[in-house]
Symmetry: C2
Subunit: 214 residues, 2 copies
C-alpha cells in the first residue's frame, strides 16, 4: 500500500494510526500542503486524489479517499485487530465520536478554511485564532462531558483497546496542543490522549515521526 | 424508533431517507433550530442530544447521534435493502462520497457557522453568500468530475439503487437549490438528484413533507 500524506494533516494521521495498529506496512508519499501553493492541488496529485486533499491510500489498483472511509475499508479487509466494537449500538457510539470530530471540529479549523478567513474575508490573526479555538472548545466541551460520564470510557474511548474514535481524537488533540488550546477544561480528553501516546502504533504515526516532518 | 429532526436539516434529511428506504416506521419529534435561539440547545433536548445538534435517533433504550453513524447502525441492524455495496472497494467509494459531502461541504455551510460569520466576524451578507457558494462549488466541482467519469454511476451514485452516497447527495443539492446555487456546471449531480426525487422514499423525506415544514 502507498499512503499519500502530509505529516501535520490530521486526516492522514488517523490513517497512519490505523495502518500501524493493523500492522500493515506501507510506502509513504509526502504531499506538501504549503509548498508551491500546495502540492495537493497539482494536476499530478489530482490523478490520485481528485479532491485535492490528503490522505489517499493506494492498495493495488484501488485508490481510496477520505480518512474514515479508508479506515472502514482497512477494517473490512484486515479485520484484526478490530477498530470497531462488536455490537451495533457500540459501533454507532464510537463512529459518532469519530464523526463529531471529523464533521463538527476538523473541517472548520483546517488549513484551507483558515486561509479563506484571512485572504478572502480579511479577518485579523486574533479573530482567526478565536475562530479556531471556538470550534475546538465547542466540540471538546461536548466530548469531555460524554467521555467523562460514559461507562464505556476506559484507557481508550471504548474500553481498553483503540477504536476509530481514538484515531480521530488523538490527531485533533495534537492539533489543539499545537495551537496552544488550554486543555485544562478537558481532563478526560487529555488523559485519553496521554494513554494513547504510550502505544507504539500512535507514537509512530505522530507528525514528528514522519519522513516529511519539519 | 423516534427521530429528533428539523425539516430543513440536511443531516436529519439523510436519516429520514434511510428510514424510508428500509421501511422503518418512526415517530417524528420536531426540534426547531431557530425558535427561541434554537430548541436544540435547551437542557431538555441535550438530555437526548448532548451535542446540541440534530438528528438524534432513539431505538428502544439506545440513543444515537451523527447521521452517518446512525445510517451505518440502521444498515447493520436492518440490512435489507442494503445501502452499501458488497465489495470493500465499492463500499469505500460510496462512503467517501458521503464523507466528502458530510465533511468538506456541509460543516462549512451550516446554520451555526453562517451565524458565527455574521455575528462574531461581522461579515456582510454578500460575503456570507460568497462563502456559502465557495464551499458548495469547491465540493461539487470535484464530485461532478468524479460522478461524470466513474463507470459505477447509474441512476444513482452507485448503479441503479440508492446507497449512503445518495443519502448525502440529495439533501446537499436541496440545500444548494434553496440558496440559488447555479447548478449548470453540475449536470450529473443535478441528474442524480432528479432521478432520486422520482423515488418515493426520497420524496417522503423531503423537507416540505415533514410535520414541521414551514
Amino acid at each position: 500500500m502507498k499512503l499519500y500524506s502530509y505529516f501535520r494533516s490530521s486526516a492522514s494521521y488517523r490513517v497512519r494510526i490505523a495502518l500501524n495498529l493493523k500492522g500493515l506496512p506501507y510506502e509513504y508519499a509526502a504531499v506538501h500542503l504549503l509548498r508551491d501553493g500546495g502540492e495537493q492541488l497539482t494536476p499530478e496529485y489530482r490523478k490520485i486524489g481528485p479532491d485535492g486533499i490528503v490522505p489517499s491510500l493506494v492498495d493495488g489498483d484501488i485508490v481510496l479517499q477520505q480518512s474514515l472511509a479508508i479506515i472502514e475499508y482497512l477494517e473490512e479487509t484486515h479485520p484484526n485487530p478490530p477498530l470497531l466494537p462488536s455490537l451495533p449500538a457500540d459501533r454507532a457510539y464510537v463512529r459518532a465520536i469519530a464523526l463529531q470530530i471529523a464533521c463538527e471540529i476538523h473541517p472548520l479549523d483546517n488549513l484551507r478554511v483558515l486561509k479563506y478567513l484571512k485572504h478572502e474575508l480579511g479577518v485579523t490573526d486574533a479573530a482567526k485564532d478565536a475562530w479556531y479555538k471556538h470550534w475546538i472548545d465547542n466540540g471538546f466541551r461536548v466530548l469531555e462531558a460524554r467521555l467523562a460520564s460514559d461507562a464505556r470510557t476506559g484507557k481508550f474511548v471504548f474500553g481498553d483497546t483503540p477504536t476509530i474514535a481514538d484515531l480521530a481524537l488523538v490527531p485533533q488533540v495534537f492539533n489543539a496542543l499545537r495551537f496552544n488550546v488550554d486543555m485544562q477544561p478537558y481532563p478526560t480528553i487529555q488523559r485519553l490522549y496521554d494513554e494513547a501516546m504510550r502505544h507504539d502504533a500512535f507514537v509512530r504515526a505522530a507528525p514528528g515521526q514522519q519522513p516529511d516532518a519539519e
